[in-house]
Symmetry: T
Subunit: 146 residues, 12 copies
């Protein structure tokens, strides 16, 4: 089994950008943690980050037929990108929406998500652990239905 982990704009700044909101781990660190966990679970994992909306759309499209599930932290694009929504719906692979921070504790324009209504599930507010909880939940779902 293979999963894809997508991280959106400004997540490459993790560890340096507003650490009181996003914590002190770097994206590198998170991806290493996830790879370790993936090995234990005996699955393969692709990780991808970009600040470009179009690049995220491209990467999601390429996942078609290659992975069985997607973890996506689309950052600011969560709230503005119908293009990413369309890409996810276009390839019909289950995905989990995740956020490091609790988006409902922040500015009102972060309360809307173009990804939420078609997501398998949503996890937010647990910092780095949002990634691992989302991966657990996605795996459990996939193993039940495959």
């Amino acid at each position: 089994m293979r999963l894809l982990v997508i991280s959106g704009p400004n997540l490459n700044l993790l560890g340096t950008r507003e650490p009181e909101i996003y914590g002190s781990s770097s994206l590198k660190g998170i991806e290493t943690l996830l790879q370790t966990k993936a090995k234990q679970e005996n699955i393969e994992l692709d990780c991808f980050q970009s600040n470009f909306e179009g690049a995220l759309v491209d990467r999601i499209q390429q996942a078609s037929g290659q992975v069985e599930g997607i973890l996506i932290n689309a950052g600011a694009y969560t709230h503005t990108s119908i293009a990413i929504r369309d890409a996810l719906l276009g390839i019909q692979i289950p995905y989990v929406e995740l956020h490091l921070s609790n988006t409902f504790a922040r500015e009102p324009f972060r309360h809307n998500s173009f990804l939420a209504d078609h997501a398998l599930g949503i996890v937010s507010g647990f910092g780095v652990m949002s990634y691992t909880l989302a991966m657990e939940g996605l795996l459990a779902h996939l193993r039940q239905i495959n």
Copy 2:
């Protein structure tokens, strides 16, 4: 360490009520699962369900000084109860909001939550597993900060 698991109105119907949305486990079954997991984690767990808004407020108040974290699936009261919000804020114990179903895939009046903006984190859409993921996330948070 001791945690409290709160379930709100109609969750006592689990397993029989609209199973295509809520799954086929009973609340009893979920609580047994959580107790098993609690033993493994070496913690104590109180479980409480009520259809009364006032009873949920009472139970939350009594938790003051007795537990270190709360898992709350407030059901329909999530969307209407300022009283439960106030009770949770009044006792100042970290809590995780959880839902069996993905509330954003349902009616618009379920998109608003009076509990979300002060929650430690949110987990929704994973069925019974929403409870266990929420417990993991809460525990990890508490162990870091205590």
Copy 3:
């Protein structure tokens, strides 16, 4: 055949509370009238009133498997209770929403109903007769489909 008649908050005041809106019959009087009519129709009838939202939820849940239809005048909870809505949907018994007064002739906050979109039908504005018309309509529906 057995039906349940539910009356919500402040309906126990009937006959004394704002008679220019609600008429001069007492709830007792209405229930006696309905029982008479039920005998003529050869059916059984349970009547229940409470000012507690949770008690109404409980009573609706207990109706599961016991009655074939519900007449509900939820009073003020019509406009605020998602819990009662969920209880009615959870047991999947057809129900008719009824009101003594015409709610659209009153304050704007009485124009919204959390029960209306799933009701079999709605009757309002006929005073005590709203109860008997609703019962006729419900019976006709049940006899057609059972």
Copy 4:
């Protein structure tokens, strides 16, 4: 005593138009049923249908001084016609608003009614029976007050 039954646009299609919403009776059939019932009640009944807003206004105006009550199913004009509202208010005859389907279970633009706040009562969702229940309710009201 004489009553007027008004049916608005597209109700002449009854029995052929979207039967899963409106049922399989024709308007003819409904009017025959009502006439039978009228005879039993010893009253006279005028029935009128038109797809023209202006024709409905004309017909309502002519009822002034001729009938003692009106049953009106204004169909789509319920949601858009202030002119029909004004005609009903202008002649000051009590009227009951009725619908075959439960309008609150349908599109949002059917939730508004320009007739509801001045109606004696409202009946919706009982199919053909909405007509007969509305007639019963109206008669009971008129006999009490005349």
Copy 5:
């Protein structure tokens, strides 16, 4: 010079409909008064009333090239008819919007007008005199610019 006076739905009821709002003159009486005044002013006057939106549109269209100004009291259609607005704009003849009652002292849905923003002027609230004031204002305007 020739003017057209248009009266919309339910204005044929004048004198009998809600006299506390609309006064006790009949439409006939108003039109006679206007004809007298027209003779004094040495102009010709056409008067037209209908309860049909389409008939009002037809009549406005026929005025093209025949009259130099229009007085329009569109009644309830003031608030709902884009078709009448389009007809008035299509023939490009100056018009005055008038109302017997002060529409801002009534229900909120009477505060919007689809005719107001392109009218030469607006007169409301003076009862029958709204017609004569509107005619004076329109004549003064036309005599200045022709």
Copy 6:
């Protein structure tokens, strides 16, 4: 009989300010015209203009017991001043709201009026003639009821 004519902010600029909207007459010219007309009608007329909201409130208060009707063109304060509204209601003298231009043909913030719902009548869009039409309408009303 004595009337008061009130003109609000920037109306002292009439004749020089945006003549394509407000016409080329000065306020002086309008008041002379009104005085002539007043003499013909055998009434007395007080005229007052100020750019100060408070001065307008003061002047309206002083009118109590001295005049029998008010013509008010409150200019920009029409849309923002609850204080002027309160002054007019406080002295309980009938008033007509008037505007030189058609306010509904202009910016949306000019569509709201804090004076309209209690006015006897409204006249707008006829330039200087709005003043004389308003005076005619007010006089006719006062002579009928006194």
Copy 7:
């Protein structure tokens, strides 16, 4: 194969009404053009225009079982008529919504359409050519599916 072309209020003014928006062809001219094109395509064509909402509803109902597709330019009723919407849905014949002008380049109240969400397709802004493009598109669709 037979098609129906429906034109709504004020389209009989074409060529004379606001030519900078609607162009200089008359409705007659457009219908002749469409008939020529229909002959080439070997189909029959019925054309109908009315300024009456009710007449349009009548004509649509009569089309049931007689035509295989409808081209509708409902003019101003596009934005206000639920009755026409209901008639089109009632007969279940595919239809194309068309407009001479680009409705989105005009007033906000022309941006809403009660017909659009159930239309096969929409064509607007090409003047007379909107009719012929709409006919081409409808024919292509019908020939594929019949």
Copy 8:
């Protein structure tokens, strides 16, 4: 003379819950203070607190015919309970709405009150003193009118 003092959800936590907002007095302390003051004023006082909406409704109903005025601090239910509003209106006893904190200095959902528009008066923001000021105001009102 006898008054009733009603306190709603979470007010039993007073003194321990968020003291920077609600102050350090316990509800017990407040009630003792009020009883002292009542003795000085030579009146009787009943005090009641509950976290249940239904219990508050019950208690208000029982007050009918027993007390001459009510002081009510409905806490969070102020903003959500139509049932409590109906109970207060049903018994037709003058009441004062009070709050310890200034609700307008807090979250937007605390700015709406279902009790305010029928209250005799409102007092908020003075901490414990809100109770005593409200009592003074209520007494003065009652002594004037009885």
Copy 9:
């Protein structure tokens, strides 16, 4: 200790203006009452009334360094004046907002207050007594904290 009592537009009409809303006391009478009470409390009191927004701003500014608290009944300016709000915030002296009538029982545009969110407390609906209750509450607050 010295306090300032500010009264806004139209309050100089007290006793003559709409007595069914504002009572029959004159402003003079109220100020005399407050001076008497001030003497008992051993404090000094300045009273000021104006119909000019600018004059109220001037007076509030002059209070800086001279008084320790302000009672303000800003009348209609409560709902429209950001300038008065800014003046109050600029001098940083605690103030109580007060109203003779219950503003929530009146027109919707009186439900908003630009002063409420920074006020120490709010008192409304007790007629003249609103002034004395507000003074008591303000004094109690100042004596505790000075």
Copy 10:
């Protein structure tokens, strides 16, 4: 004559992505069809697709002075991109907005278009044929005016 055909995000997936909405043709296939038609019409055609908003802006800018008309199916960016709107307006070349599906039959967020109000015309809902109809309409317009 030369035209430009622009296709936005996810249109490169055509034929595989949700074929029940978008049909089974590939973008390649559509472009071949358009080139054939272009040859018949004796014009040249450039085709361009990208998932990047910035790349679409770049390509539109480069069209300045090179093409005489643009067909644009901006996909999801239709609803969110002011930058593409600005690019189209900046080069002042007439363009037609087109969509394969009927956007009004889909989610509400697809009902808004930042391109529509300045488009020459709009075609939607005809699948692949939307492209050819749009090209016909654009050509007819250009040949008339060049």
Copy 11:
């Protein structure tokens, strides 16, 4: 060349009022600074401050024909005064809107400006320097076009 500098309500408090928002310079100091700069630029400068909306309107009107440009910091009246807007438009002199603080970083009611849409330009957030930057920008504009 001569310019006018207008400062609105509460700006006379500068240096003492909320210095963390508005800085520590007095209005006197700012005006001296501007006069120095004016001498260097060889222009004349009139400065005016008032807390009265009417006085600001008066002063703006007097500027007609006397100055060639206006710098206006209308303070709180920026957000509420249509009268000041009308005065500025009435004299048709270019003006720059300026603010010491960044109004978008403050309360929502400061985000609206009745002056912005007709201003030549806007400068905000630079403290005292907002005045000098605005003067530079205005001068550059005037020298180019005169």
Copy 12:
């Protein structure tokens, strides 16, 4: 000291795109002007333009630790990009938002800015001079605080 000047989508068209709005200078010309001014001020300046949202995010991130202030004219992305907002907040360098045109004199969708509430200051409407005024304001701010 080093500053960064960022220009967003379509600004590379300056001088050719809609010159009546944006003026006739090219972006090249503006940047040369700014470099000259920078030399006079003895600072270094980096200039960057892109039509890609992601490229702008990247460039802002790289500025971290390299520049002391940013001038940003984000063009159309001002109104839609939360990603650019997040990038600016992430690196915590003061920035000034600037626009060539007065955005409040244009379409409503240009009135919202995702950058304004955290900007140091805002300058708009002065054409090219908006850049130089913004630079002056930024420099003055930086020199005061460094």
